[in-house]
């Protein structure tokens, strides 16, 4: 096992308390979140699921410190989040790679910004490339990579600063179904090795069940927590778990919460 997370079991608790956020737009206020509360234990993986516009991504940005809520607050390990924190890693829907940098340059980017020394940077880079299976692609430009490979680079970059919490905003939604499944399996393996707390936004019920310890269903705008359902499946999970998840009673329960609002 590689020292990826850098934290013990007691680190990475996320507390969301009664968060409300309204965007003021030219065409009137947009109530994105209205009183969302959520507790994620250290090392736990929570899937956020909900219809379009349920504020899932907004909630993720509040947790990441990129957006300030109008009411309520977020804390990571009892420290209030007021601005972005390097101990929280973020994977966006798009890879968001710097096109003028190589794979290695992109993975190294957070380390450079944080002022790591050259020696430490290079050592960490090797660990990260090995972690996501990109050892051979260090010098390649993002434009030459497939979508799945690009998102792997983004994942390595998010893990660079050894975050206690990893936030993923529909990370594989732009990929084809097979690549997506494979990356989900890898993500799961990664989590088992890093003990990083995870919050993943998804549109897919099987994906949510497959990845998470708990599935949290958000309502349509303004977002509220409709249900908080534990996933009883043991770990490690395999590809077959994904297939079983499709027809599981839990999937039906999640769908039951989603259907009235998504219809």
């Amino acid at each position: 096992m590689i020292g990826v997370a850098g934290g013990g079991d007691s680190r990475g608790r996320v507390t969301v308390r009664d968060v409300a956020l309204t965007f003021r737009r030219a065409d009137g206020p947009l109530h994105a979140l209205d009183g969302v509360s959520l507790d994620v234990a250290p090392g736990e993986v929570v899937a956020l699921i909900g219809p379009n516009g349920s504020g899932k991504s907004t909630l993720l940005r509040v947790i990441a410190g990129l957006l300030a809520p109008d009411r309520g607050g977020v804390a990571v390990d009892d420290r209030p989040v007021t601005r972005p924190d390097p101990t929280v890693g973020l994977v966006f829907q798009e890879p968001r790679l710097l096109p003028w940098r190589s794979v290695a340059g992109n993975v190294r980017y957070p380390l450079e910004l944080a002022g790591w020394s050259h020696a430490r940077r290079e050592a960490r880079l090797e660990e990260l490339l090995a972690l996501v299976g990109l050892e051979g692609a260090a010098g390649v430009r993002p434009s030459q990579l497939s979508g799945g490979m690009r998102q792997r680079v983004a994942l390595a970059r998010a893990l660079a600063l050894q975050p206690r919490v990893l936030l993923l905003d529909e990370p594989f939604s732009a990929l084809d179904a097979l690549t997506r499944e494979r990356l989900n399996v890898e993500l799961l393996a990664l989590w088992s090795r890093t003990a990083t707390t995870g919050i993943v936004v998804t549109h897919s019920i099987p994906e949510a069940i497959f990845l998470a310890d708990r599935v949290v269903v958000l309502s349509a705008r303004p977002g509220r927590v409709l249900a908080d359902l534990p996933v009883g499946l043991p770990r490690p999970r395999a590809m077959s778990t994904l297939d079983e998840a499709v027809v599981s009673p839990l999937a039906r329960a999640v769908r039951a919460h989603l259907e009235p609002v998504a219809a």
């Binding site: 973020l90 798009e94 003028w100």
Partner: protein, 249 residues
């Protein structure tokens, strides 16, 4: 440039020279209207040999390089301000457009009066003419930075300076260098115009001399060829820098 590319360019040049010669022969034009290419070539070689052209060329190069450097530098700073501050854009843009719309030909004599026939007036004209394309391309380039990358920078707690050096400059570079390509050729025009308005030396002065007191039309054409060659070389230099800095993305 590839070998095929170089050969193509050479062939195109040969065609142009032959066409030039054909116009002279078919039109029966006397040398004081259009001297044939070989006469211009011979006059150019002679002028270089007797040292007629070199001091003027050197003077023009100095003016162009200093003017380009000064104009581009100020343009980078102002262009960044235009991109990042709505206030700066609102306050400055009318003056920038006005300065660009005023013909440089009309300003050149004024500059010659204010700053004398020396280097300063020419450098200023070059700087002024380079400024606009570089400032606008900088503004466009900095604005083109992907909002997603800026959010990434924010999530990684990048400082303003880090955002500038790791995101904004690399993203804007292709645009900026495009503006510099235009700017460097315009700088040559600026130098010649400035020299026309009053100077002791420079290729513009030589054109005037060849046309006027010397009445040496082949020399005038030789000077024009030199001016064009200077423009081509400077442009190629910018392209070279661009290849180095931007490369393959």
């Amino acid at each position: 440039m590839t070998r095929v590319g170089a050969l193509t360019a050479l062939a195109a040049f040969a065609v142009a020279v032959v066409a030039w010669k054909a116009i002279v022969v078919v039109g029966g034009l006397p040398p004081f209207i259009l001297p044939p290419p070989e006469m211009v070539g011979a006059r150019l070689a002679e002028a270089v040999a007797e040292g007629t052209i070199t001091p003027h060329l050197r003077a023009t190069i100095v003016e162009v390089l200093l003017g380009f450097a000064a104009g581009a530098l100020v343009a980078l700073v102002i262009g960044y301000g235009l991109a990042r501050s709505a206030l700066v854009e609102r306050v400055l843009s009318p003056y920038l457009v006005a300065a660009q719309a005023t013909p440089i030909l009309a300003l050149a004599p004024l500059f010659a009066i204010w700053f004398g026939p020396g280097l300063e007036s020419k450098v200023l004209i070059c700087a002024l003419i380079v400024f606009f394309p570089v400032a606008i391309s900088t503004m466009v380039g900095v604005r083109s930075v992907d909002a997603g990358l800026l959010e990434l920078g924010r999530s990684l707690r990048a400082t303003r300076f880090q955002v500038l050096t790791t995101l904004e400059i690399p993203a804007a570079l292709p645009n900026i260098l495009g503006g510099m390509r235009v700017g460097v050729t315009l700088a040559v025009v600026g130098a010649i115009v400035g020299e026309w308005a009053g100077a002791r030396e420079g290729l513009g002065v030589l054109v005037n001399l060849a046309r006027g007191s010397l009445f040496d039309i082949p020399l005038m054409f030789a000077t024009l060829v030199t001016i064009a060659a200077l423009g081509i070389v400077l442009y190629a230099l910018v392209v070279l820098v661009e290849r180095r800095l931007v490369g393959v993305r």
